[in-house]
């Protein structure tokens, strides 16, 4: 996996935490702050932060359309919290759409304000019990097949996979457990070896 280059959206939010996790797993990172940073990526991480700020900066800095194209072309993508909102096709309580590449409906600030932030241990498909940190988090109200549901909290969907996109409402980058990032890197590795064959 050592040659993989993962782009981490670095316009605002907790991107350094993702970079530390990716480096721990032996891969390299590049921070994406403007359109010219987007070349030759093996994977993309959309970190937590404020989705309104990230979405606005993506547009102003000319990154939204080129990144959307790359996601649609199969670039493996891991999105956490605000990143999930950026990917979603529909936001229940907001008119905005950013990438719109993930066919789910999300609700922003679904658990309310900071006092609604919480941590639970719950099952994540293919991994097992995972400690999950939700910070002013969204959840997914609606996800139909072929979207694969990876995790739930009660009736709410907190993690999904759709083709090359893994999107979760919580923050694995804030904890020590690297398994979700490792899962993402295995997608990136597969994608890179496919591209090399072509």
């Amino acid at each position: 996996m050592n040659s993989l280059k993962i782009g981490v959206l670095a316009v605002q939010g907790a991107f350094i935490e993702h970079e530390q996790m990716i480096r721990r797993l032996g891969c390299s990172c590049v921070e994406l702050r403007k359109a010219s940073d987007l070349a030759a990526l093996d994977g993309l991480i959309l970190p937590g932060g404020e989705s309104t700020v990230q979405g606005k900066l993506l547009k102003e800095l000319g990154m939204l359309e080129p990144l959307k194209q790359q996601i649609q072309d199969g670039l493996p993508t891991l999105a956490t919290c605000a990143g999930l909102i950026l990917l979603a096709e529909k936001i229940e309580n907001d008119d905005a759409v950013y990438f719109g590449t993930l066919p789910v409906t999300v609700r922003r600030n679904a658990y309310g304000r900071q006092l609604g932030s919480h941590r639970i241990v719950s099952d994540f498909k293919g991994i097992g019990p995972v400690s999950m940190t939700f910070i002013r988090a969204p959840y997914i109200e609606k996800a139909d097949p072929p979207v694969d549901i990876l995790s739930r909290e009660g009736n709410f969907i907190t993690g999904v996979r759709y083709q090359n996109q893994i999107a979760i409402a919580f923050h694995p980058e804030l904890q020590e457990d690297p398994r979700i990032h490792a899962l993402f890197l295995s997608l990136a590795k597969e994608h890179a070896s496919h591209s090399a064959q072509e």
Binding site: A10, V11, Q12, G13, A14, F15, I16, E17, R33, K34, G48, G49, E50, T52, V53, K56, L57, E60, L61, C81, A82, D94, R108, N109, G112, R113, Q114, L115, S117, H118, R119, T133, I135, R136, H171, L174
Partner: protein, 299 residues
């Protein structure tokens, strides 16, 4: 809850509260006094807003005792925007903090900008479930606030002046002291804790990680995209902008420019283009011209 569960719950809460500050990194937190201003700030790309009745420049001009804002005014701002809403309470005024927690505020700033309510004790912030941000001029102040339960730190640059000199001084001092602690031998850390007047375990954290245990923003006197870039290059993880936006000629445009400057703080070409035609910056007062020195409040 048993005592064990309570301790566990409190620790988790603190992690969640530090986590929210991590999500704000690389962002701009703007002072607003009305729902309309809050909307302008959100549309311009603020990652959070600070709801207060008067911005620091006006507090300074008005003089007198300055207190927590009217909860109805804060609620109006909470309803206007979807981003986190912060509000200030007076240093040591835990009842004001309880009220802010009761209205479900996202972050409390125990702030020297308001008149201090207590000249000895800060709020025991560990008792609260909502997070606190506090100002600090140096490593000692920062670690004392963290020991009390602050989940985020900011510089204590002189608010309402439009003069960045103190934020710069505080950020440099913090960095120098962190570098010094990091370079010490382990058997020298007890003495460092004594000199800094802070708990030993926090000094050990700084020594091992070469940073504060919480996020550190710049605040006070930031008025231009260049000021924001300066503070980010000096190691701030984000910036607060108080009077600098709504005391300027074109608040929306200036706010947008400062947001872009924080993201691309090392890109001088971009900084040059966003700095063009911003209209009048806030007038500003030089450090040597002011009467009330707010940074000395609460050490």
């Amino acid at each position: 809850m048993s005592q064990n569960e309570e301790t566990q719950d409190r620790e988790t809460r603190y992690e969640l509260n530090k986590g929210l500050a991590q999500m704000l990194k690389g962002g701009v937190i703007m002072d607003v006094t009305t729902p309309e201003q809050a909307k302008i700030a959100e549309d311009a790309g603020a990652c959070a807003v600070m709801a207060l009745e008067r911005i620091p420049a006006d507090i300074r001009a008005a003089g007198g005792v300055s207190r927590m804002s009217d909860p109805a005014m804060i609620r109006g701002i909470q309803e206007a925007v979807s981003i986190p809403v912060m509000a200030k309470c007076r240093i040591g005024h835990f009842a004001e903090a309880q009220i802010l927690q009761a209205i479900d505020i996202d972050y409390i700033d125990e702030s020297e900008v308001l008149s201090p309510a207590d000249d000895v004790y800060h709020i025991r912030k560990r008792d609260f479930r909502v997070p606190f941000v506090c100002g600090a001029r140096d490593l000692g102040e920062a670690l004392r606030r963290i020991a009390e339960g602050a989940a985020m730190i900011r510089t204590k640059g002189e608010p309402g002046t439009g003069d960045v000199i103190q934020a710069v001084r505080h950020m440099r001092k913090m960095n120098q002291q962190i570098a010094k602690v990091s370079s010490l031998r382990e058997d020298e850390l007890f003495e460092a804790a004594k000199e800094l007047r802070v708990p030993y375990d926090l000094v050990c954290f700084v020594h091992d990680h070469h940073k504060l245990p919480v996020v550190n923003f710049a605040a006070g006197g930031i008025a231009t995209p260049a000021d924001a870039s300066l503070m980010m290059q000096l190691g701030a993880e984000g910036v607060f902008v108080g009077s600098g936006i709504f005391k300027s000629g074109d608040p929306a445009k200036r706010a947008r420019a400062i947001v872009q400057a924080v993201t691309n703080y090392q890109d001088a070409d971009l900084l040059a283009s966003v700095s063009e035609n911003l209209g009048e910056a806030m007038v500003g007062i030089n450090e040597s011209e002011i009467q009330v020195i707010m940074e000395e409040r609460g050490q």
